[in-house]
């Protein structure tokens, strides 16, 4: 399924075009020894009443838990263990195991070393590129393909497709220009195109590069997205 996004070209003309994510390969299915389908299920193993923390609270210390385990099976709820979870609601548990009724959501920032840098209330970050948003801006910054692939890992891709005869020509011309230059163009959001591309509320921000190819009267225009630079991690494993 495609979505409509607004796109600006080098001449600052803009149009809504369709954008479609790269197709994932068909998923493999697992079968048992007899060839019958096997399905993966989430099964209940432990509940909050039988987990170790609950047993520790109930019996005081490890010795008490050990005595309870010798005397019976407090770690197993025979009515629930092995039952399929199915659709379940999300709840949050306090450190003492009680259900949290009023949650406060924070955004915690950690550096590469794992140390906390900041902690603040979580605020939604809206999408920057959607059907009703300002067009994705052609920055004019052209990058040779060989340079781009050695600088960024392109972890998502969208194919831009025409939705009419006019947008066919619009996209074909962009693809032709990039194909002839053998370059990709940096695109973004905001007045100068320096802003990140965010496709959904609280979605991941990406840098975007358009790549075009033409073959006769056919074209291929792809928006390559990256949120990872090819940089050394200094041997971190």
């Amino acid at each position: 399924m495609a979505r409509l996004i607004p796109l600006m070209d080098a001449k600052k003309r803009d149009a809504h075009v369709a954008a479609e994510w790269a197709k994932k390969p068909p998923a493999l299915k697992m079968v048992g020894p007899s060839g019958t389908p096997a399905r993966l299920e989430r099964l209940i193993r432990t509940t909050d009443a039988t987990a170790y923390d609950a047993l520790l609270r109930a019996h005081g210390d490890d010795a008490g838990v050990a005595r309870a385990l010798i005397d019976g099976d407090p770690e197993i709820d025979l009515h629930l263990v092995g039952r399929r979870l199915g659709d379940a609601a999300r709840v949050y548990l306090r450190p003492d195991g009680a259900v949290l009724s009023v949650a406060r959501v924070l955004r915690v920032v950690r550096g590469p070393d794992g140390a906390e840098r900041s902690r603040e209330d979580f605020l939604d970050v809206e999408a920057t590129l959607a059907e009703e948003s300002a067009p994705m801006v052609w920055t004019g910054k052209l990058v040779p393909i060989g340079e781009a692939i050695r600088k960024f890992a392109f972890t998502k891709q969208l194919q831009l497709r025409h939705v009419s005869g006019l947008t066919f020509q619009f996209l074909y011309d962009i693809a032709k220009e990039l194909h002839a230059a053998k370059k990709m163009v940096f695109v973004g959001t905001g007045p100068k195109g320096q802003g990140p591309l965010i496709f959904t509320t609280n979605g991941a921000p990406y840098r975007g590069f358009l790549e075009g190819r033409v073959d006769g009267d056919a074209y291929r225009l792809v928006l390559h997205l990256s949120n990872l630079e090819l940089k050394s991690t200094g041997g971190a494993s």
Binding site: M1, R3, A18, A22, K23, P26, M30, G32, P37, A38, E41, L43, I44, R45, T47, D48, D77, L85, G86, D87, A88, A89, R90, V91, Y92, L93, P95, L100, V102, A103, R104, V105, L106, R107, V108, V109, R110, P112, I145, R150, F154, K156, Q157, Q159, R161, V163, T200, G203, P205, R213, D217, V222, N227, L228, L230, K231, S232, T233, G235, A236
Partner: protein, 200 residues
């Protein structure tokens, strides 16, 4: 420690140790943390639909079941494609010599969606490969971390930061002619990752 990446160019073998490159290592991370009124972090759990039980983290087990609800051991399972044909397990490429093809055109990398990036550290590299990588050449090979069904294309390249192996899936985009229009326009969901502006 994992076996090394071993590649061969024109019969000359090169060996690299490797580590995964991800956003957390480069930029850190931003995470959503739910806290109570005292600021103490809380953990997510699942409430069963009947409200009868709360399943804490680690309280679930994953199991393959057959049509009779009997569990199946993973070693008994086989993968089949959409047509029902058995799919063979591809052996791990680690520690095993993989031929390099190329240099390939850089646009070949763009025909793939990058799924994993590894930073390679040379252990023993042929002069020819080192020179080609330093000159900006890109080579293609195959990569599979462990014995499974995930054998994938991988691209070997270098920049001023080091040598990298980019593993990817073919993106399968088609050339479009005027008469080809999208048949299905609508809302589409995209994977939402942790919010992170590290590189912005």
């Amino acid at each position: 420690m994992a076996s090394p990446v071993v590649v061969a160019l024109d019969g000359k073998v090169s060996t690299f140790s490797f580590s995964k490159v991800d956003r957390e290592k480069l930029y850190g991370k931003r995470e959503r943390v739910v806290v109570d009124e005292t600021g103490a972090p809380c953990v997510g759990a699942s409430l069963t639909t009947d409200g009868g039980a709360i399943i804490p983290p680690g309280g679930l087990a994953y199991a393959y079941l057959d049509e009779a609800w009997d569990t199946l051991d993973r070693s008994e399972l086989k993968a089949v494609d959409a047509a029902g044909a058995a799919v063979p397990i591809a052996p791990s490429t680690l520690g095993k010599e993989q031929p390099l093809t190329g240099p390939v055109d850089p646009s070949r990398v763009l025909d793939h969606t990058c799924t994993t990036v590894y930073e390679l550290r040379p252990e023993e590299v042929s002069e020819a490969l080192a020179a080609a990588l330093a000159a900006g050449s890109v080579f293609e090979t195959r990569f599979n971390y462990r014995d499974d069904y995930a054998d994938a294309a991988a691209f070997l390249l270098a920049n001023d930061q080091g040598t990298f192996l980019l593993v990817g899936e073919p993106s399968r985009f088609e050339m479009l002619r005027q008469e080809q229009q999208p048949a299905d326009l609508g809302e589409e969901t995209e994977d939402t990752d942790d919010l992170d502006f590290g590189m912005m």
